[in-house]
């Protein structure tokens, strides 16, 4: 009840505001001796001076001579060419050399201008500053306030304008998987701390059947360095925490591929020397500003059979799914979806040997969140 009450009160206060507001603009009468502002000439609907623009005359002929009027000689106009007379260029000739541009330049009337020289082309080449411009860091304020007094604020300015760290954490998939046989749970989370091009990443994913410990779970700690606008290179370690105790070295890339595919590809080398890889991709398809369809695919690969972990050489597993989420707020979205997983080749054999179906279809429901 209280919020409602206070809203009403605030509303009342606001209604009162306009009365107060009337004096807000600092109305004041300004006695100004000058003549009335000349009305912008309505007649100059066609550009009176488009020809002044430098580009219409070749820069090669641009004189270094700063005298007014020279430039006009290059143009097919009746403009007086006398450089010394150029200071008093009448507006009429200028109007005749307005072959283009139907813009209203009413304010650019040159009548009465002291000088009607065209813009200079300026220097063509970028050149370094002259030696008189000095060198070294900017320290002018040190002479006034002292180097010691300036140090903290200077460091603070440097640290807050550009490369400052942020923290991001995402639960990409926290879901229940409804399928034939026992239903399962899954988590897939990641996060980072760092600046725009250098970050420390944390990732974890795992799954298991409800009521039991995860069959399969891992955590990763990675250092990431941007190597392209949309791509980070990542290197670090992965520790499997479900199943046989296994530690992997990780190298990978993560980023945004053309067509807005979020891609995470990593190569793993286990402490036993087994080489595996994983490629994940997902893309957000906005149906409305809040309703988002997200197709997702994942492929797990191995360079060799890893019987201990039940992994088959070659393509071991493919997952394809689609999730439909509704962003209640940007950071929090429940979703539903469907996912199909196939074990393939030797991987399928390992699955069967373990009493599992190599092909599993799941209905999924979960939440995606980040902060």
């Amino acid at each position: 009840m209280r919020p409602v009450l206070s809203a009403v009160l605030i509303g009342t206060a606001l209604i009162a505001v306009p009365v107060h507001a009337q004096n807000q603009g600092h109305a004041m009468t300004m006695p100004t001796p000058d003549p009335k502002l000349p009305a912008a000439p309505a007649s100059s609907a066609s550009d009176p001076h488009a020809g002044h623009r430098m580009p219409t005359s070749p820069p090669a002929t641009a004189p270094a001579d700063p005298h007014a009027g020279h430039e006009m000689a290059d143009m097919p106009t009746p403009t007086p060419v006398d450089p010394h007379a150029g200071h008093d260029m009448p507006a009429e000739p200028a109007k005749t050399m307005a072959p283009k541009d139907d813009m209203d330049h009413s304010g650019m009337n040159h009548e009465g201008l002291g000088e009607a020289a065209p813009t200079s082309p300026g220097p063509d080449m970028e050149t370094p500053p002259p030696p008189e411009a000095g060198s070294g860091p900017p320290r002018a304020a040190d002479a006034i306030w002292g180097a010691e007094a300036m140090r903290t604020s200077r460091q603070d300015l440097q640290r807050t304008h550009g490369d400052f760290p942020v923290f991001w954490f995402q639960g990409d998939r926290i879901e229940a998987q409804i399928r034939e046989g026992p239903d399962a749970y899954l988590w897939d989370i990641q996060g980072y701390y760092g600046g725009p091009t250098e970050r420390l990443w944390f990732k974890s994913e795992g799954e298991g059947e409800f009521g039991s410990a995860p069959d399969d779970a891992e955590v990763q700690a990675l250092y990431a360095k941007a190597f392209a606008p949309f791509w980070d290179f990542q290197v670090g370690v992965r520790q499997d925490i479900g199943g046989p105790d296994t530690t992997h070295a990780v190298v990978g890339v993560q980023g945004l591929a053309p067509y807005m595919f979020e891609v995470d590809a990593a190569l793993f080398v286990s402490h036993r020397g087994d080489v595996t890889a994983r490629i994940e991709g997902e893309v957000d398809q906005r149906i409305t500003q809040r309703l988002i369809l997200q197709p997702r695919a994942e492929v797990n690969l191995a360079a060799q059979d890893v019987p201990l972990l039940g992994i088959g050489a070659g393509i071991d597993q493919i997952e394809v799914g689609v999730r439909l989420r509704y962003e209640i707020i940007r950071e929090f979205a429940p979703y539903i979806g469907i996912e199909q997983s196939w074990r393939i080749g030797n991987g399928a054999d390992f699955a069967r040997a373990g009493g599992q179906d190599p092909s599993v279809t799941s209905l999924v429901a979960g939440i995606r969140f980040w902060f």
Partner: protein, 593 residues
């Protein structure tokens, strides 16, 4: 985490609107509290207890002393935006002074050497977002160049209930987090399947017009939301001066008063020759003074529509309190086009209305010629035959087939060698053209007169009309996905000790090339530069913020005659914190001479 503390929603209620202070000694206090805008409570940082802070009214020629007391729990500062002053009074912690510690009173003191409309704001942390800004007017020592009966300030800004540090974090981690106008299967955007495919292929969003939209922001007029009734009174026949300041953290506005033309008389505080328009885009930190002459209607709506058309700031010109004019609906959001990637216009086979090449863009084809030639002569490997390419801009509209095949959106060979190529650059403008004549995203095809930089002419003659002695080319670079922003591929954190250097009184042409798909309002502290907009050197308009359009270039001439270290940055606050900032060092005469 992004340092600089957090902005809470506790403390006293900070009212919207402002009072006025003037004189030779002005006391200001920075404190925190909360703001309630249209019933929503958000963090607040206020100067003298209000958001915006008080109008500071000075007179040209006076000396002023500001005693600024910091009542926050973190450092603060006040930067006097657009003022000519000794660099150590400019108010940028880490560049011009050490900042103001909690509980400390810092005294700024300087002579007032100019006149016009300016503003002030914090340069510490992300305080600007929470309300640390206010208007500043300097009345001229002599007469105003124009006559008017009423003088009003319209300070546009953006309010959020969020802590700006949260916004910064989300911009870095959640691509498109604040964009609720993204492409979807069910959107109404006039895009073909092929165009949608291309944008996805490029990993970019054509809807990224402003990083933060109306879902997050409430757009404010003098601190008030659109339903909170800001009014300016007038009598029919009066001439009203509106000093329009974009004091937002991250927003561009399209300003119009339906039924009433506006005559621009000053830009960034500097007088320009009067030019009448029906609408103009005002980039973050830009300032335009306009004169309007309301007619017979009882009220007129002053609409500050956000560039992405996700919301508006609103005020009313009224003949009596409570009068309301009808408020136009938000127009359809604009989309970025291939032209905003710096693709040559000739490739514009897309049939977006926004790609309309009439008007401003025909003029820009000529600009393209110059831009491309510069490149060729600098040996950057710019595309050949730029003249024909730009000349065929209009023809290309019909003939060109849009295809990504064989087109590189990140050809780093096009960049000069002094640009650091790396992950921080996700795009290189293919053929950046000078778009001084561009009215801005979403305003290229409106059926009325819209301001562009080519229409600005200095009112008073520029003092220095020397030919620039050298060219400085700076590339605006970024990575949208990582939210990295930079000059020449290096974020401020990498170049804090590598300033852009100028010799004393050096005259330099600075060319800014935008290799990103966002418009950047680039601001130089401490000096005015002159836009190279086709005007003669004597009358190039003086400004201190220049919008560089997506994929395009912009040039200004600078006389480096203010000694010291100055901040130079994108005035989108989150872009500046994302790295798009550098120090400019002007060596003083005693050293340089």
């Amino acid at each position: 985490m992004h340092r600089g503390g957090t902005h809470g929603k506790g403390g006293p209620r900070i009212p919207a609107g402002f009072g006025e202070v003037s004189g030779d000694v002005i006391d200001l206090a920075v404190g925190s509290g909360h703001r309630i805008i249209e019933g929503r409570r958000g963090p607040g940082i206020a100067v003298n207890g209000s958001v915006p802070g008080p109008l500071i009214r000075l007179r040209e020629g006076q000396n002023v002393r500001f005693n600024v007391t910091n009542n926050l729990g973190e450092d603060t500062s006040i930067h006097w935006h657009g003022l000519l002053l000794p660099f150590q009074m400019d108010g940028v912690p880490g560049i011009s002074f050490p900042g103001i510690r909690p509980g400390q009173t810092f005294t700024y003191e300087f002579p007032v050497r100019q006149a016009g409309t300016y503003w002030y704001h914090s340069h510490s942390g992300l305080q600007e977002q929470s309300g640390h800004y206010g208007p500043l007017i300097i009345d001229p020592a002599g007469a105003e160049p124009v006559e008017y009966d009423r003088d009003y300030i319209l300070l546009l800004s953006d309010f959020t209930v969020l802590d700006p540090h949260f916004i910064m974090q989300r911009l870095r981690t959640g691509e498109g987090y604040f964009n609720r106008q993204q492409n979807t299967w069910t959107d109404d955007y006039p895009m073909t399947a092929e165009e949608r495919r291309m944008w996805a292929q490029m990993r970019m969003m054509p809807t990224d017009i402003m990083d933060i939209g109306g879902k997050t922001y409430t757009f404010l007029a003098n601190g008030r939301g659109p339903t909170e009734g800001l009014e300016y009174l007038f009598k029919p026949g009066e001439r009203v001066r509106l000093r329009i300041i974009n004091g937002s953290a991250q927003s561009f506005f399209n300003v119009r008063i339906p039924g009433l033309p506006m005559t621009i008389i000053a830009a960034d505080g500097q007088n320009v020759r009067p030019v009448e328009v029906d609408e103009f885009q005002i980039g973050t930190a830009e300032i335009y003074d306009v004169i309007v002459e309301p007619g017979d209607a009882a009220a007129y709506a002053i609409v500050g529509e956000s560039m992405d058309r996700s919301g508006m700031a609103l005020a009313m010109l009224t003949t009596s309190p409570g009068e309301r004019a009808s408020v136009p609906a938000l127009r359809d959001p604009p989309l970025l086009t291939m032209g905003d990637m710096g693709m040559d216009h000739g490739s514009g086979g897309m049939d977006h209305s926004a790609m309309d090449h009439s008007g401003a863009f025909v003029g820009d084809a000529a600009g393209a010629e110059m831009g491309a030639k510069d490149h060729a002569q600098m040996g950057h490997g710019a595309p050949p035959a730029p003249a024909e390419a730009s000349g065929s801009a209009v023809a290309g509209m019909a003939a060109g087939e849009m295809s990504m095949d064989g087109m590189k959106m990140r050809d780093t060979a096009l960049l000069p060698p002094d640009v650091a190529v790396g992950p921080g650059i996700d795009m290189v403008s293919m053929a950046p053209v000078d778009k001084m004549g561009d009215p801005g995203l979403g305003l290229r095809d409106v059926p009325h007169r819209v301001l562009n930089y080519r229409m600005l002419t200095a009112h008073e003659r520029n003092r220095d009309t020397r030919e620039p002695s050298r060219l400085l080319e700076l590339h605006l670079t970024g990575n949208m996905e990582r939210y990295m922003w930079s000059f020449d591929g290096r974020m401020y954190s990498a170049v804090s000790d590598v300033p852009i250097r100028f010799a004393w009184n050096e005259r330099v042409r600075v060319k800014l090339v935008n290799n990103t798909m966002m418009a950047h309002p680039i601001h130089l502290h401490g000096m005015f530069f002159e836009l190279v907009n086709g005007e003669s050197a004597a009358y190039q308009p003086r400004k201190n913020v220049v919008i560089v359009q997506p994929g395009a270039s912009a040039q200004f001439d600078l006389t480096a005659n203010e000694a010291g270290d100055w901040a130079f940055h994108c005035h989108l606050m989150y872009h500046m914190h994302g790295g798009m900032m550098q120090t400019v060092t002007v060596v003083g005469p005693e050293i340089g001479a």
